[in-house]
């Protein structure tokens, strides 16, 4: 990887900038991950309560409807159920938990009064009321469980994504960038050393040449002096 990078000072500066940005991003993502985990733990507790409540409500509703079917007869229970025409309504909105959009489910007309269930009061019994009540309660628990468990799943996906991003930054991108930085620094140092060596060599060569020139000049001057003396 490092060999693909041109060891230039410009690249080094760019890499240093990227390292700084990545480290900042890593810190932020780490904080986000920790925050999400804390939120998730809260939702998890809530989901566990809701789930156990749901199971309890289901058991109760089943027991009540079984009792109503046993004592009033299946025909009577079906008849009372057929009298209901206004069904519960559900609307979904969304809320944001640390950047995760989770659903918020609002329900209406789930709990009904004795005068809203459709069947006549005079000819029916408390068993049918209690079965209807238990099922209304169960429906509310199902709606709450749907909200909490969807939020939990979305949080979990987001935690996974954030964790992958943190790991990618920590174990892949940052080490690579640092390796590139080191490579370029080494290369630049090496280039610098080479340059110094080259300059020294040139200087030495120049000095040698100057020395030679000076020696030649001196020799020439000595030769001229000898000639004058001989004349």
């Amino acid at each position: 990887m490092a060999k693909d990078v041109k060891p230039t000072r410009k690249n080094l500066m760019q890499i240093e900038d990227r390292i700084e940005l990545s480290e900042r991003g890593h810190d932020t993502l780490e904080k986000k991950r920790d925050g999400l985990i804390m939120e998730f733990m809260d939702i998890l507790d809530q989901a566990q309560d809701v789930r156990s409540g749901l199971e309890e409500d289901y058991e109760t509703a089943q027991q009540k409807i079984n009792m109503a079917r046993a004592m009033e007869g299946d025909v009577a229970v079906r008849g009372a159920a057929a009298a209901l025409k206004e069904h519960p309504e559900i609307t979904t909105e969304s809320k944001n938990i640390m950047g995760v959009v989770v659903p918020q489910i609002e329900s209406s007309k789930v709990r009904k009064g004795l005068d809203e269930r459709g069947y006549g009061v005079l000819g029916t019994s408390g068993r049918i009321d209690e079965a209807a009540e238990a099922y209304e309660e169960l429906l509310e628990s199902i709606i709450l469980a749907a909200e909490v468990e969807t939020a939990m799943k979305k949080m979990l996906t987001e935690i996974e994504t954030t964790k992958r991003r943190v790991n990618a930054l920590e174990f892949k991108l940052l080490p690579e960038l640092k390796e590139n930085q080191e490579y370029i620094e080494q290369k630049l140092e090496e280039q610098e050393r080479e340059e110094i060596f080259r300059l020294k060599k040139i200087k030495a060569k120049k000095e040698e040449e100057e020395k030679e020139e000076r020696a030649a000049a001196e020799a020439e001057a000595a030769e001229e002096a000898e000639t004058v003396t001989a004349d």
């Binding site: 009298a83 005079l122 000819g123 408390g126 068993r127 209690e130």
Partner: protein, 353 residues
Amino acid sequence: MSVKETDGTSNYEYVTARVQARRAALFDDEDYRKLVRMGPSEIARYMEETEYEEEVNALGSRYDGVDLIEHALNRNLAKHFNDLLRWADGELYEFIARYLRKFDAWNVKTVIRGVYSDSESEAVEEDLIYAGEFDRQFLDRLVEAGSIEEVVEMLDRTRYGEPLSEAYGSYEETGVLIPLENAVDRTYYEGLMSGVTETDNRANQLYAEFLQAEIDFRNARNALRIARSNADIDPADYFIEGGELFRASELSQISNSLDELVTFIRDSTYGDDLSEALDELERADSLIGFEHALDAALLEYSDHLSHVFPLSICPVLAYVLAKEREVDNIRAIARGREAGLSEDEIENELVML
């Protein structure tokens, strides 16, 4: 629609003799003890060897399991009650019919619910119990009605015609069946008492007292249901005339509080009979035990009357209640076994003398 002419003298001797024979054939504690230990298919097989043989065999190809048992029970109940109406003459016929009209009310409500929920006519027909005064042809025509308005029009010449026409406007306004169902039930309960109190015959007076108790229990049951539901309902709207326990005006005042209502019933003439049921109601915050106790009290009262006045409407009434209770008990056992209830739980739900 076939309604028998009620002129002529009552044949108490004949009807009560036949009723005594029928009553002796009802399931006893030993039968229930056996049934509680059986599964639904074993119960159906056991029924094949009893009084219910004809119905179980006739319906065996259409239904199975607990549905077979429930439909066989309903058909057998209808057969027995039709026999009562067939045997009885004069005043006795009228006394029996006024009680059995609860099945007419049931059938009218079932048809209205079927039309309201766009159910198939075959499905509605399956849920009818042919034990009242309306004959099969009339009920079949009702089932085929295309709209609730048509049902109300077809019932125009019956006792339910006028109350249903009056309630129809309210149904159109609200879109729920409550006004129509309440009109039907109110007509039935108020019809129970009409003219029955004006008699010198002690047995008939006691019969009237029994009907009053039934209405009082129904009012008490409904008032407690309304009080428990915390719904914004005036209990006076659901009050049935003819009872002794409440007046409509005082019911509105006391039924805001469950405690007040319980205290009121405790201080009434039924207080001693229902004290255990009221204790249970306060303890368990559930009406089921209370309703159970009301059913048991009515059954016991009717049985007591049948021994005091053997040649009157009382033994017939006691038989009607005992037969209904048998059907309820067998159905409870079968459904209870199907739902996996324990033997003890099922036995607690049975009402036996």
